[in-house]
């Protein structure tokens, strides 16, 4: 399998503070990887850097997406190239209906790929199909983007958008946070249905809980801005038992000099 995403020795500074310190990570197409780590280890920073959020300054390192230099692309270009970020806290946009927003987004992607734009009828047909998958009430589609949605509805709406936009790389930032067990199952089913040989999924999570429903191919442990351990799905269980403290000692002594070797 070719590597869909290759991150080499990534250093990222946010407001003059170095958060990622030589992170190296590769994700091949067709696989779902989990990145786990304690609070403040840099999980969300990794998610936002991949999506190109302003304010995250890459001081060193390289990110290749399908062989292309991701860091040179504007956020909207990354999205059109197939990078999707499911946000931990989805943003509300009052006055813009969910349907209108998603139609504009899907058509921006289609235009980028040289495909014809969808008209309202064609779009609605696809949207209904995907909404059923995530048990999304049609009323929600007519409301303002995320406006007045419950925490669970917002997260479902994120995965609904992912289903609609059909990304090559889906980065899901704490998608499980704030979900009760029923909502978690719905979201997990939705994500599992989207696993495919062409797509890679990077799940960023604090707890092992999500991984019971979405079984990852690999688990990476992020600590203090570096991947300190990579293993199979059993690593998540081990973490649950022992906590992150055992892994924090494994950090390379001089983080700036070299990134730890990766087997992935």
């Amino acid at each position: 399998m070719p590597n869909l995403l290759e991150i080499q020795n990534l250093h990222v500074t946010v407001e003059d503070k170095e958060i990622l310190r030589g992170l190296t990570l590769t994700v091949p197409a067709g696989e779902a990887h989990a990145v786990m780590g304690p609070n403040g280890s840099g999980k969300s920073t990794l998610a936002h850097v991949l999506a190109g959020r302003p304010g995250y300054e890459v001081t060193k390192g390289d990110i290749r997406f399908r062989g292309k230099n991701l860091l040179e692309m504007a956020p909207e270009v990354r999205a059109r190239e197939g990078v999707f970020l499911g946000l931990q806290y989805p943003v509300e946009i009052p006055g813009v209906s969910n349907m209108y927003f998603l139609k504009a987004a899907l058509n921006a992607l289609r235009t980028h790929r040289g495909e014809q734009e969808l008209d309202a009828v064609e779009f609605l047909k696809i949207a209904r199909e995907k909404a059923t998958l995530l048990e999304i009430d049609e009323n929600l589609l007519q409301r303002g983007v995320n406006v007045g949605f419950s925490g669970g509805e917002k997260k479902r709406n994120e995965i609904f958008q992912m289903a609609l936009l059909d990304p090559t790389l889906a980065v899901l930032d704490e998608t499980d946070s704030g979900l009760d067990i029923d909502a978690l199952k719905v979201v997990a089913n939705g994500i599992n249905a989207l696993r495919s040989p062409e797509r890679a999924i990077l799940m960023i999570t604090h707890y092992q809980r999500l991984l019971e429903y979405i079984v990852p191919d690999k688990v990476h442990v992020l600590s203090d801005g570096q991947i300190v351990e990579t293993g199979g799905k059993e690593l998540a269980l081990e973490l649950e038992k022992t906590g992150y403290a055992t892994f924090e000692k494994k950090r390379a002594p001089d983080v700036a000099a070299s990134a730890p070797a990766q087997s992935a």
Binding site: A51, P75, E76, A79, L102
Partner: protein, 362 residues
């Protein structure tokens, strides 16, 4: 010089893409080429560099130059009057409808220099002309000055439509370099039923001070001002209009849209003045501002002075905001900043863009 224009993709050769539009190119205040001159001359329209107009039509230049913007008007008008070397001159004789769009393309090329061009458009009784100016400048670290003067004169039943697409270099993201765009633009509706319409799309320049205005002297004359100003990084745009109602039944419309991003400041500053004799004068003003993020500013400074009890003056203003989070969310779903803005403020700049003779190409 001509090859520079070709490199920029600005066709001056008459057979090329801009067919049907006559172009005058002004390069560091020097007019380098004017197209379609002969064809225009057939109907009596004069369209030439100011330097040629001075030589070939001194009577017209003497009569009208400085008649709308006197040399003593303001500091930059004085500077321009003292040093201007060239510009565009348009004369449309009585009853002639100019058969094509006229266009001037301005470019500041040399370093550490200013541009001081002068434009004069005269529309005689019952004539019509539409004119478009475009501006660009290459990137330089030093600030450069653009201090132009534009004068329009419309006689009885004449109409002048003047459009600007201004994209002077705005400086880098830290606010270094860029053009200071201090321009005096004014039109005089001297005749009865005359009309002057200003349309501007302002995206460039480090600092813009520009107030294209109308002196509505003739009875029933009409002034219009449509503006879209977008600012980002450290840009400052202070723009608006003055509508001076002197004649009876004069009407003016002001539609101003400002979009500010980054740490920029975007100001609408306008004056609607109704003099004692301007019975039944009407004005409608609408100012809409959109803020992107939380470090930029939008300001609206409307002045209204009415000395006539029969006048009607209306002012409407709205402000809306898109946060950086909302913008990023839109970007992450594949929408560009422009898409995001138009999605959130769908009504925004539509009516100004439809007033332009050509859609600006990027």
């Amino acid at each position: 010089m001509l090859s520079t224009f070709e490199k920029l993709g600005i066709p001056l050769k008459e057979q090329e893409a801009l067919a049907g539009v006559a172009v005058d190119a002004v390069f560091d205040s020097i007019s380098v080429a004017t197209t379609y001159k002969e064809k225009l001359a057939e109907v009596g329209v004069i369209f030439c560099p100011m330097s040629e107009a001075v030589a070939n039509h001194p009577e017209l230049v003497k009569k009208y130059l400085g008649s709308v913007v006197p040399y003593s008007d303001n500091f930059f008008a004085t500077l321009n009057s003292a040093v201007f070397s060239d510009g565009s001159f348009v004369y449309v004789p009585e009853g002639v409808r100019c058969p094509m769009e006229l266009s001037t393309y301005f470019r500041i090329n040399a370093a550490k220099t200013g541009q001081f061009e002068r434009t004069l458009i005269v529309a005689e009784k019952g004539s019509y002309v539409s004119y478009l100016e475009g501006c660009t400048a290459p990137m330089r670290d030093e600030n450069q000055l653009h201090a132009a003067v534009v004068e329009l004169v419309a006689m009885d039943d004449a109409e002048i439509k003047y459009s600007t697409v201004q994209n002077w270099y705005p400086g880098d993201k830290d606010g270094k370099g860029g053009i200071y765009n201090f321009v005096t633009k004014r039109g005089a509706c001297r005749g009865r039923n005359s009309k002057i319409s200003w349309t501007q799309v302002e995206t460039g320049s480090a600092i813009t001070w520009k107030y294209p205005s109308c002196i509505l002297q003739g009875d029933n004359s009409v002034g219009e001002f449509y503006s879209v100003a977008t600012t980002s990084n450290h840009q400052q745009a202070d723009t608006g209009t003055k509508m001076i109602h002197i004649g009876k039944n004069t009407r003016s419309t002001i539609i101003s849209k400002g979009i500010s991003a980054g740490q920029s400041q975007n100001t609408y500053r306008g004056l609607v003045k109704i003099l004692g004799g301007a019975a039944n004068a009407r004005n409608y003003t609408q100012c809409d501002s959109l803020l992107l993020g939380d470090r930029c500013g939008a300001h609206t400074v409307p002045y209204i002075e009415s000395r006539n009890r029969t006048a009607h003056v209306e002012h409407e203003a709205t402000t809306s905001k898109i946060s950086e989070d909302q913008l990023f969310y839109c970007n992450q779903r594949g929408l560009s900043q422009e898409d995001a803005v138009s999605t959130s403020a769908r009504k925004s700049s539509r009516n100004c863009r439809s007033s332009l003779p050509l859609r600006p190409r990027n």
